[in-house]
Symmetry: C2
Subunit: 366 residues, 2 copies
């Protein structure tokens, strides 16, 4: 999806892909297959590139520091990106900056996790691997002292664990902003992100029943984080909204984000285009919506193997449906595409997106 935007802008893209089968490697013209955790591979790849950016956060910080030292433009830079890579670093920095977070503590042993829970008045609490988790992986709900013991018995690689207050949130929100090297930044409208089992299944933009004041506060929070951390490119601030309406930061991502896929069809400038504009230091495009409501529904791998052919039914039923398939092999629960619907009537828009996604997952009959 970033590639499509790069083509329009006349930006030449070179891709470092972990394997020839990954989505982007199937469509990008100039692909190097290599290991992004290998310093030599990354350094060689970077030669001749004007700027390096990412579609995930897993390139080791040390490699990125080396690139920067060698004069390569890395955007977002490693000092920003580390906050999307390491939850302990992120919590520390955001708390110091006064950004609302759940209560948290880095814990190294079961006893420390138990003590954290006791200090909060008891279970449940949440434990997260500081590095490497995504889509609900690396996140555990801890309901008892026994759970705490079991967790640390299961962790053998010494990855730090961040213990967090269990926030009994009313819903999850996503505040997306994009920031230039010069510090120019714009905010997308805030989305509601519907999650099932730690995986985003749907977004609604703008988030229904969010007051203008709440929306502006969330945008301001995200813009503040982007500036505080010196982010260049897209920043997704995933928020949990408590039942009293207040929000705390759940996660950060510094790249085009699943909760921003609605922007491809729903906004004047997609998150992919604005990410690229930011990293090559072009002026940012208008992030405002083109429709009253836009609903994005993720297509998770289900019983439908041939997604391009299954689109036939969806398009026959809904002439305005927008769809993106990722060219991934269909595996259960894997994000293999998404659909967007937009319009004036939220119920109808949601129904359209939901039906199409369900059909592509094999849940819904014609």
């Amino acid at each position: 999806m970033m590639y499509a935007a790069s083509v329009s802008l006349g930006i030449t893209v070179r891709l470092l892909a972990e394997g020839p089968e990954v989505s982007a490697a199937q469509v990008v013209r100039d692909v190097t297959v290599g290991d992004y955790t290998d310093p030599e591979t990354v350094r060689t790849f970077a030669e001749g590139c004007d700027v390096i950016t990412f579609d995930h956060e897993h390139v080791p910080t040390s490699i990125l520091h080396d690139l920067e030292a060698a004069g390569v433009q890395v955007r977002p830079g490693p000092d920003a990106l580390v906050h999307a890579q390491d939850k302990a670093v992120m919590r520390r920095r955001l708390s110091e900056a006064g950004v609302p977070c759940p209560a948290w503590r880095v814990v190294a042993h079961a006893s420390e996790l138990q003590a954290f829970a006791a200090d909060l008045g008891g279970y449940p609490v949440v434990a997260k691997a500081a590095r490497g988790g995504y889509d609900g992986k690396g996140v555990w709900k801890i309901d008892s002292d026994a759970d705490a013991v079991e967790l640390f018995e299961g962790i053998t690689d010494g990855v730090p664990v961040v213990a967090e207050e269990f926030v009994d949130f009313a819903r999850e929100l996503s505040a997306l902003v994009v920031r230039s090297p010069s510090g120019q930044a714009v905010a997308y409208p805030v989305s509601e992100s519907v999650q099932t089992g730690g995986i985003c299944t749907e977004t609604v933009t703008p988030a229904p029943e969010l007051t203008e004041e709440q929306a502006m506060a969330a945008q301001k929070l995200a813009l503040g984080v982007a500036q505080e951390l010196g982010v260049v490119g897209m920043l997704a601030v995933e928020l949990m909204q408590r039942r009293d309406g207040s929000v705390v930061v759940n996660e950060l991502a510094m790249r085009p984000h699943n909760t921003g896929h609605w922007t491809i069809d729903g906004s004047h400038t997609s998150q992919f285009e604005n990410h690229l504009r930011a990293v090559v230091d072009l002026p940012l495009g208008d992030p405002t919506p083109r429709a009253r409501w836009t609903v994005m529904a993720n297509v998770l791998g289900g019983s439908v193997a041939d997604l391009p052919s299954a689109l036939l039914h969806c398009f026959a039923r809904d002439r305005r449906l927008r769809a993106e398939l990722y060219g991934k092999e269909v595996r259960p629960g894997r994000k293999v595409g998404h659909v967007n619907a937009f319009g004036d009537d939220l119920d109808e828009v949601r129904r359209r997106a939901r039906h199409a996604a369900d059909y592509l997952m094999g849940i819904e009959e014609a």
Copy 2:
């Protein structure tokens, strides 16, 4: 631009490009460089393709007939496509079908061209090479018997010439439709196409001051031509509107067309996506506009060599401007990109598109 649409739909594209430097070859993953006029090259390329389509009309009809005979799906098929390749064939067929055309005659000698002019009551008349012309090339205004003699002295390769009435038109219109193999067809709103020296410089959609009756008549005409010729995919019917409001067909194109570039940002479904949907037989998407007015302005090669960098100014001035650069080397007058602007106020929308295109051509100062 077709490639971006193919990626979203999960359609795998293989490109036969005449050279490694052409626009599409710079971005498409799977490129074969070869001569599309060589039967063996095209046949080898087509092996393993489910369907063949085109972004120009120059593949020889005989090669396409051979492909069809070998069981390859060619869309549009050669029996349709020939009407976009050969103006004599097109004029004959459309006239037989009762589609309004300028007065015309195939002429083989200067004397026949002179006789045609005399029959119409005198000069000027228009002469067109039946095959191979585009963007004003292969079209001549003939003002005198001497011009007619000179024309045939200049033509040495024996290409047939179609003589046509000189239509002193009020303006040019473009009626775009797309048709499926099953015969399903939809019509885009009619655009006004502003031409300078035979090259489209700008389109306005919908065409201003076109009555609903006139618009529907033009759409019906184009849908009729698509059905009559058995077109699959996009059909652009370029029309000349006489001062009395009536229209005659100027040219046909069977592919995504310059006058349809507004659809990328201005319509629910772009012409590129709908062309692909048609040729792979997916249901067609909604062609209706998303904004009151959309203006497309072509960027013709001018004094600006580094277009991606020049976008900086355009984007700084206009946060909603949409741009596509084609990755072509800038040469004088060559179409190297386009910009789209849309909104409620036609004058403002037009000014925005015009300014950006002029700036990218080096005409307009900041």
